[in-house]
């Protein structure tokens, strides 16, 4: 019974997501061309086909999997597409292709990974793959610098951001590694007043992850990914060992590293300076953030309406700053709606983690959910100037093939774990 209920919920929500997407698409077209979108038929057909495909895959491959994640991802993906199409038609065509590939990756992941613990066996393969992908852009010839960050790899006609995939692969590796070592790492060896600290050598992995994230920050000049990788590892380590001291020590390490980076590297200094005061240089360094603020403010509570704002003046609007475009045209209602969508996904992900019986599943679900939550916080916080801006994509919404495909794989893994939970204890769902 439960699988059927979940799948029907999923179907209903998917239809709702499609309706919202199509309505927004139509409104944006009415606003910009004063006409119904010429391709509304094909558009609806493609959206329906893609999400229906994913839905059929979950019915077949993970019938008891969570029914909320896919519709929300579909909605975010759809809204992202509407704004990309409204801003740049060429990118929209590519994004449609990436969406199709992403959903294909979703289906393939569900089909290949039949049991989560299959992944656990290839721990060190994953480690090598993750670290390799992370460092790949630093290699000569294939590595490529775009907009100041060396995070691209160009292999013949294909270019992609390996970091987007590395974060998932590393989450898998961390989960399997920590499940194995959590007892040892969690042992309290030293007492420091009221605080119990693990043995000093157990901080080795923390220092390693810290060094790797500093490398990403300085050599690849990618502040957002650096923060994301380190936060991912620390959160998983903390959850696995149940030792808050890891959080504290890691926090101190990161603060120290960030401080030194701030002193040494002018690209870090620039980001901080712009964060603290974008107004002193509004036409150059502060331009992007100031324009994003103007866009959000112009949207007010209800927004200008899809297609009726002027978000096109913000650089990188289709990728890092797409949230500002949505905030301008849908207003506070829309921007908070997007926040709620991510919160619902985070909630669903953590619920999956809580219900998981197998420690590996529990940790992996936690890690994957943390990626989703932290990444969306970092970029939305950057766009709204709550935290310094670090270029990183908004999951499912931003333009970008690597990001979209990676996030659909992440989604498939979460649904796979959820399905596994239900199989392990069918009563728990009642």
């Amino acid at each position: 019974m439960i699988p059927v209920v979940r799948r029907n919920t999923e179907l209903g929500l998917i239809l709702l997501a499609i309706t919202i997407t199509a309505a927004t698409y139509t409104l944006a077209s009415l606003a910009t061309t004063a006409d119904l979108p010429a391709d509304i038929g094909p558009f609806l057909g493609v959206v329906l086909a893609l999400l229906a495909g994913a839905h059929v895959a979950t019915r077949r491959l993970a019938p008891a999997g969570d029914g909320v994640l896919l519709p929300i991802a579909g909605l975010l993906n759809g809204l992202g597409y509407v704004w990309i199409a409204r801003l740049d038609e060429e990118l929209a065509a590519l994004q449609a292709t990436w969406t199709a590939v992403g959903i294909l990756a979703f289906v393939v992941t569900l089909a290949v990974v039949r049991r989560p613990r299959d992944l656990e066996r290839y721990r060190y393969t994953f480690m090598l793959a993750g670290v390799g992908l992370l460092l790949l852009p630093l290699l000569p010839v294939v590595g490529k610098t775009v907009n100041g960050a060396r995070i691209w790899v160009e292999l013949g006609p294909i270019s992609f951001q390996p970091g987007e995939f590395a974060k998932i692969i590393l989450a898998v590796f961390f989960a399997s590694y920590l499940v194995d070592k959590r007892e040892v790492l969690g042992m309290a060896a030293n007492r420091l007043g009221p605080v119990t600290l693990p043995e000093l050598r157990h901080f080795g992995p923390v220092v390693l992850a810290w060094a790797a994230s500093l490398l990403v920050m300085t050599a690849q000049r990618d502040l957002g990914s650096s923060l994301l990788f380190f936060a991912l590892f620390v959160v998983m380590l903390w959850v696995a060992t149940e030792r808050a001291s890891y959080l504290v020590v890691s926090g101190l390490l990161f603060s120290g590293g960030a401080f030194v980076a701030w002193r040494l590297f002018d690209h870090v200094q620039r980001r901080i300076a712009v964060w603290l005061d974008p107004w002193s240089d509004v036409s150059d360094q502060g331009f992007q953030v100031v324009q994003a603020t103007f866009a959000l403010a112009w949207g007010g509570v209800a927004g200008t309406g899809p297609g009726l704002g002027n978000p096109d003046r913000i650089p990188l609007i289709e990728t890092d700053f797409i949230f500002a475009a949505i905030g301008e045209e849908l207003g506070l209602l829309g921007s908070v709606g997007v926040l709620v969508a991510y919160l619902l996904m985070v909630g669903a992900g953590l619920r999956i983690a809580l219900r998981a019986e197998v420690p590996f599943n529990k940790l992996l679900a936690t890690g994957l959910t943390a990626i989703l939550g932290i990444q969306s916080f970092i970029i939305i916080g950057g766009v709204t100037r709550l935290v310094p801006l670090t270029g990183i994509t908004l999951p499912f919404v931003s333009y970008g093939g690597s990001s979209l495909i990676a996030n659909y794989i992440l989604l498939a893994l979460l649904i796979r774990i959820s399905d596994d939970n239900a199989a392990a204890e069918p009563d728990a769902l009642a």
């Binding site: 003046r313 908070v336 936690t366 916080g381």
Partner: protein, 484 residues
């Protein structure tokens, strides 16, 4: 592990809560201030296709109007007078936003204020009730200002000291706002790029947005400080005749223009613009008195002129003059630690002319809706009290003497008693700005004026009395006719 997972959830909830608060701050609490930010062009873009009121000169001459247009935008903004009023009207541009009256009175012109909102029916029909803005600018005075300054960098400000109405506001070089406001966006962008690349910076309305050393025109402020403090009267002290005043703490003397010798009581030293005497007066009065007097005339404060981004005229703070008599001496003769916009020096003249009170300067006379009804009118208000009426009266006599017998004889309007003060602000490289401020008639002033002819290579001999005075004289004459 479940406890940690729940805490992770709580932590993420807190982070997203912070995002929620920040979004409310940007999109609701501070939205209005962001929307009004001068760097934000969104309001202009929204208004670009809509009906927009006219900007008219005092005599009804159309300075800016919107005419129907084909293509992407339904309307095109036109400036029939070209560059003549650019510094006042500003522009209304899709790419560059708005400046001048087009920005200050954007809501009125676009019909978005409560005064012009009309009834509910009109609101629902979406017909904006645009309004026309009539300015105090008198085109004939503006034209005389342009013609007499000619193709030389400089600014002319003329206003009525009694109510602060600006009659002329000209600076050369200027630009044609029509180029920037074109509906042909590429052409407008090209025009803007060219204007921005122009080293002469024609987009800058220097008359109220650029500061210069005021030179000897600032001696009016120093004299006012002496009179107001009671330490100086028309009769005493009599400053010693000198060709070089050496301030305390230095051995470098301050010399008189042309190396002359001068010194006597106030009227005499103002007539010949005696550097040594005024430098000594400044040092004797002290920084507190001098800076206080300058601030009483409006220095260190943004003049409330109804145009965007009016520049403040700065004078260094009192503490910076401590143990620094040489700088204080230089400041008393309008060099070193004081800078002024042409507007601010015009306001000094206007303050003296108006019995010591500086009125709020303004370019808007009234706002009328489409039925011709006046919906807003500028009410004259005092901005700041520069001096007492008695001090203003003594200064007026002293400045009248400067025109009758001193360095500003070329300022005299035939048949009208005229008051003035010249200035030649030296830039240390052999070049100088030529200044003059003045007003007329001195017994019942109706017009105050400030003119600066900026330093130019090859014109090392230009003085305020020779170069700036004839321009100010022509403007005064024209303005007295326009303001009977």
């Amino acid at each position: 592990m479940n406890r940690q997972i729940r805490r992770l959830g709580a932590g993420l909830l807190v982070l997203f809560g912070a995002l929620f608060v920040q979004l409310n701050v940007i999109q609701v609490l501070r939205a209005d201030s962001y929307n009004d930010n001068p760097n934000n062009t969104r309001a202009i873009v929204r208004d670009f296709s809509r009906p927009r009121g006219q900007i008219l000169a005092a005599d009804g001459t159309v300075l800016a109007r919107s005419v129907p247009s084909e293509g992407r935008f339904e309307r095109q903004r036109e400036y029939p007078e070209g560059e003549l009023f650019a510094g006042v009207t500003g522009y209304f541009s899709f790419i560059a936003g708005a400046d001048g009256v087009e920005r200050t009175y954007n809501d009125v012109l676009a019909g978005r204020t409560s005064e012009t909102a009309g009834d509910l029916g009109e609101l629902l029909l979406g017909e904006p009730r645009t309004a026309d803005v009539t300015l105090t600018i008198a085109p004939e005075v503006q034209r005389v200002a342009r013609d007499s300054l000619g193709a030389t960098r400089g600014s002319v400000v003329a206003l009525d000291p009694r109510d602060g109405a600006v009659l002329a506001l000209w600076n050369f070089p200027s630009y044609d706002p029509g180029l920037l406001s074109s509906v042909d966006i590429e052409a407008a962008q090209a025009a803007r790029d060219a204007l921005l690349a122009d080293e002469a910076n024609p987009l800058l309305p220097a008359s109220y947005r650029e500061t210069f050393f005021p030179g000897s025109t600032f001696k009016v402020v120093t004299a006012a400080a002496g009179l107001s403090s009671g330490q100086v009267t028309a009769a005493s002290p009599r400053y010693p005749s000198s060709s070089g005043y050496v301030p305390p703490l230095t051995t470098t003397p301050i010399n008189n223009f042309g190396g002359g010798t001068c010194g006597d009581a106030l009227f005499a030293i103002l007539q010949v613009s005696c550097n040594t005497a005024f430098a000594q007066m400044g040092v004797d009065l002290g920084a507190e008195v001098l800076v206080g007097q300058a601030e009483a005339f409006g220095f260190n404060d943004v003049p409330p002129l109804d145009l965007p981004r009016v520049e403040v005229s700065p004078i260094a703070d009192v503490a910076s003059f401590t143990q620094n008599a040489p700088v204080l001496a230089m400041t008393a003769i309008g060099q070193n630690a004081v800078r002024s916009t042409p507007l601010q020096m015009a306001l000094v003249a206007a303050g003296v002319a108006n019995g010591g009170q500086v009125m709020v300067p303004h370019v808007m006379a009234d706002v009328r809706d489409q039925d011709g009804e006046v919906v807003d009118r500028f009410e004259p208000t005092v901005w700041t009290r520069g001096t007492s009426a008695a001090v203003a009266s003594t200064l007026t006599d002293a400045m009248t003497g400067v025109v009758e017998r001193g360095t500003a004889t070329r300022l005299a309007v035939p048949g009208v008693p005229t008051a003035g003060k010249t200035g030649t602000a030296q830039l240390g490289n052999g070049l100088s700005h030529a200044w003059i401020i003045g007003f007329a008639p001195s017994d019942a002033p109706r017009v105050a004026v400030a003119v600066i002819v900026e330093a130019q290579p090859g014109a090392s001999e230009q003085t305020g009395g020779r170069v700036a005075a004839p321009i100010a004289q022509a403007v005064l004459s024209a303005a007295l006719e326009a303001r009977p």
